[in-house]
C-alpha cells in the first residue's frame, strides 16, 4: 500500500477497480488544520481526470500493471509504433497517450510502456533526450543581460528555447517533462 508520502507524478494506483496514474499533486496544510495531498489522477483506461484529497495516513492501493521496455520505431499518422525489445512484438499506440512530449521522439528512442490487462495505457519517455539543432538564428554577440534565450528547431521538429550560443548542428539535451533546454552536449 502507498501513503501520501509515496505520491508522485506517474504513481499507478487502483481506485474502485480502475487503474489511475497521478498527474498532479500538491501538499496542502492550513496552519492549524490537517495536512492532505490534493491529487489529480488520470484514469488509465478512459483518460478521465479526477481530483481527490488524500489525507495524511490514508492508504492507496497499488495498481497491478505491467511495465515493458519498448523502442519507438516510427510515426504512422497520429499513431506511434513501438517494438518490445525482448520479443520484437510491435504495438501501435495513439499519440494522445504520450501527450506533449511526442514531438521530442526520435526513431529508436527507448520508452517505458505501461499495460493494464494487456492494453497499452501509458508511455513514459526518458527524462532527457539528445537532439540536433536543425534551425536557429545566430545569437547577437555582446548581449549581456542574463537568461536571454532564442528559439531553435530540433531534428524532430519541436521548437525549444535555447541560450544564445547554441548553433545549428549542436546537439542539446532536453527535458521531456518540460520541453526545456538543459545543456549542450556537443557541437
Amino acid at each position: 500500500m502507498y501513503d501520501t508520502s509515496d505520491i508522485r507524478k506517474g504513481l499507478k494506483v487502483l481506485m474502485d477497480g480502475n487503474p489511475y496514474t497521478v498527474i498532479e499533486f500538491q501538499f496542502v496544510k492550513p496552519g492549524k488544520g490537517a495536512a492532505f495531498t490534493r491529487t489529480k489522477f488520470k484514469n488509465l483506461l478512459t483518460g478521465a481526470v479526477v481530483e481527490r484529497n488524500i489525507r495524511s495516513g490514508e492508504k492507496l492501493e497499488p495498481a497491478n500493471v505491467e511495465t515493458r521496455d519498448m523502442q519507438f520505431l516510427y510515426k504512422e499518422g497520429s499513431d506511434l509504433v513501438f517494438m518490445d525489445q525482448s520479443n520484437y512484438e510491435q504495438v501501435t499506440i495513439s499519440a494522445d497517450l504520450i501527450g506533449d512530449a511526442h514531438d521530442l521522439m526520435k526513431d529508436n528512442l527507448p520508452c517505458t510502456v505501461v499495460f493494464f490487462n494487456e492494453r497499452p495505457v501509458d508511455v513514459t519517455l526518458p527524462t532527457f533526450v539528445f537532439l540536433e539543432v536543425t534551425a536557429s538564428e545566430p545569437g547577437v554577440r555582446g548581449d549581456t543581460s542574463g537568461n536571454v534565450t532564442k528559439p531553435a528547431t530540433v531534428e524532430t521538429g519541436a521548437e525549444i528555447q535555447v541560450p544564445l550560443f547554441i548553433r545549428v548542428g549542436d546537439t542539446i539535451k532536453i527535458d521531456t517533462r518540460t520541453h526545456e533546454y538543459v545543456e549542450r552536449v556537443s557541437k
Binding site: 508520502s5 492549524k32 545569437g139 543581460s145 542574463g146 537568461n147 550560443f165
Partner: protein
C-alpha cells in the same frame, strides 16, 4: 566598477562569465578555463582557485544555480537585514532558544522530526514564553523550525520562522507590527510596499483590511459557525452548503473542508492583504478566549495574496487551562495514531509563576521572501532544498 567574473564556460573564441549581476559573453583570452576568476579590465589577472585545472566546471543546472535563484537568495539576505533593523528600531531583543528540545509541541496536526534523544522544534514558542515569564517584554527570534512530512509549494520540512512577542500588550499591537514589518521588508527588497504573487501585485501599505472568521465563513461559504456547536451540527451546515464531508468528521476537519473549498480561494483573490481574526474556540490552539465571548479565541492569521503568512495569539496564560488543552491534544494524538509527545512541564511551571498578559506571532520568513521576490514556490527562496542535498 570592477568587471570581474567567473568563467563558467569557454565556447570557441568566446567565454561566458558569471558576474555579480549577469552572465556576460565576452571574447575569451588565452589561457582562460572554466572556474577561473578573471578581470575584464586587466585580462592578465587570473585567479585560479583550483590550480591544476581540477576545478569542477559547472556544466549542469545541478552545479550551476539558475541566476533567478541567486537573485532570490540575495533578496533574502536583504529581507533578513531589514527585518532585524525593524525589530532593533522598536527595542525588541533578539533571542536564540534551542532547536533540540525534549517536548516539541503537541499541536494535533504537526509532527516533529526526531533528533538524538529529543526532537527538533516545530516552533520556538514554548521557550520564548518562558523568557516572557522570566521578565523580557519585547523579544523576537529568527530560527529554523522542522515539521516532518511537509513538502509543497508553500511548505518545506525545514524552514525559517520569525516569532515575536510583546508582554503587557494586546493582539492589536501585533497586527500593527505585522503590517509594518511586511511593508518594511518588501520595500527594503525592491523599493515599494508592493508584494508580488505571480504576476499580481498586492499593496501591503498598512493598515490592512480585517475580517472575523465568522464573517468570512458566512460571506464566502454561506456557513454560520458558532464555535460551540457539536461536530455533527457543523458537519450538517457544511453539507447544506454543498461541501461533501463524512458523517464522523471532526469539528476542525469539517471547518477546514469548508474553509479550504470556499474561503481560502476567496481570500487568495483579494487585491489587499487580510487580517483574519476571532477564530472559533475549537481552533484556539495556544490562544486565550475572548473575554466577552468564550466561543471566540484571541487569534488572527495574516494572509497576503492567498499565502498564509503568519499566525498570532493573545497568549493563554492560565496554566490550568493550558494543561487541560495539552492533555486533550495528547488524547487526540493517541486516538489518531500519531506520536504522543511529553507535556512541557517547565512551560506550565513558568505559566504558573506568572506569564504577563502577552501577545505573539509566528511568521513564515521564507513565505515573506516569496512575497518580496514574487517567487511562486518556497523552493525558489531556499538556499538548498532537501532534494538538492
Amino acid at each position: 566598477m570592477t568587471r570581474r567574473g567567473r568563467v563558467i564556460a569557454v565556447d570557441g573564441d568566446d567565454a561566458i562569465l558569471r558576474g555579480e549581476r549577469a552572465d556576460v559573453r565576452v571574447t575569451s583570452r588565452a589561457g582562460w578555463t572554466p572556474g577561473d576568476i578573471v578581470d575584464l579590465d586587466d585580462p592578465a589577472v587570473v585567479v585560479r582557485p583550483f590550480p591544476g585545472g581540477d576545478y569542477p566546471a559547472p556544466r549542469s543546472e545541478v552545479a550551476r544555480m539558475p541566476r533567478a535563484r541567486l537573485a532570490a537568495l540575495a533578496a533574502r539576505a536583504r529581507a533578513l537585514a531589514a527585518l532585524r533593523a525593524f525589530f532593533a528600531d522598536r527595542d525588541f531583543l533578539e533571542v536564540e532558544t534551542p532547536l533540540l528540545v525534549p517536548s516539541p509541541g503537541l499541536e494535533i496536526h504537526l509532527d516533529a522530526v526526531t533528533a538524538g534523544d529529543g526532537f527538533l522544534i516545530t516552533s520556538p514558542e514554548y521557550q520564548m514564553k518562558r523568557l516572557l515569564a522570566a521578565g523580557f517584554e519585547r523579544i523576537y527570534q529568527v530560527c529554523k523550525c522542522f515539521r516532518a512530512g511537509e513538502h509543497g509549494p508553500h511548505h518545506a520540512s525545514e524552514f525559517t520562522m520569525v516569532e515575536w512577542y510583546r508582554a503587557f500588550a494586546e493582539l492589536d499591537a501585533i497586527v500593527r507590527d505585522t503590517e509594518e514589518l511586511v511593508a518594511h521588508v518588501v520595500r527594503a527588497v525592491h523599493g515599494q510596499p508592493i508584494a508580488r504573487v505571480g504576476a499580481r501585485s498586492i499593496d501591503v501599505t498598512p493598515p490592512w483590511p480585517r475580517t472575523s472568521v465568522r464573517e468570512a465563513m458566512q460571506r464566502w461559504a454561506g456557513i454560520a459557525v458558532d464555535g460551540d456547536e457539536p461536530a455533527a451540527a457543523l458537519v450538517a451546515k457544511v453539507r447544506a452548503a454543498g461541501i461533501d464531508v463524512a458523517d464522523d468528521t471532526a469539528w476542525d476537519d469539517a471547518f477546514f473542508a469548508a474553509f479550504l473549498a470556499r474561503v481560502e480561494p476567496a481570500i487568495a483573490a483579494l487585491d489587499r492583504p487580510l487580517i483574519l481574526e476571532d477564530w472559533p474556540a475549537p481552533l484556539a490552539a495556544l490562544a486565550s478566549r475572548h473575554p466577552d465571548d468564550p466561543r471566540i479565541a484571541l487569534r488572527f492569521e495574516a494572509y497576503v495574496g492567498g499565502l498564509e503568512l503568519a499566525n498570532a495569539f493573545g497568549e493563554l496564560t492560565d496554566p490550568v487551562e493550558q494543561r487541560a488543552r495539552f492533555e486533550d491534544d495528547q488524547r487526540i494524538r493517541r486516538a489518531r495514531g500519531r506520536a504522543v509527545y511529553p507535556i512541557d512541564e517547565k512551560l506550565l511551571a513558568a505559566l504558573g509563576e506568572g506569564l504577563p498578559p502577552s501577545a505573539g506571532i509566528a511568521l513564515g520568513f521564507d513565505r515573506l521572501v516569496m512575497l518580496a521576490t514574487g517567487a511562486p514556490t518556497i523552493d525558489q527562496v531556499l538556499t538548498f532544498t532537501a532534494p538538492e542535498l
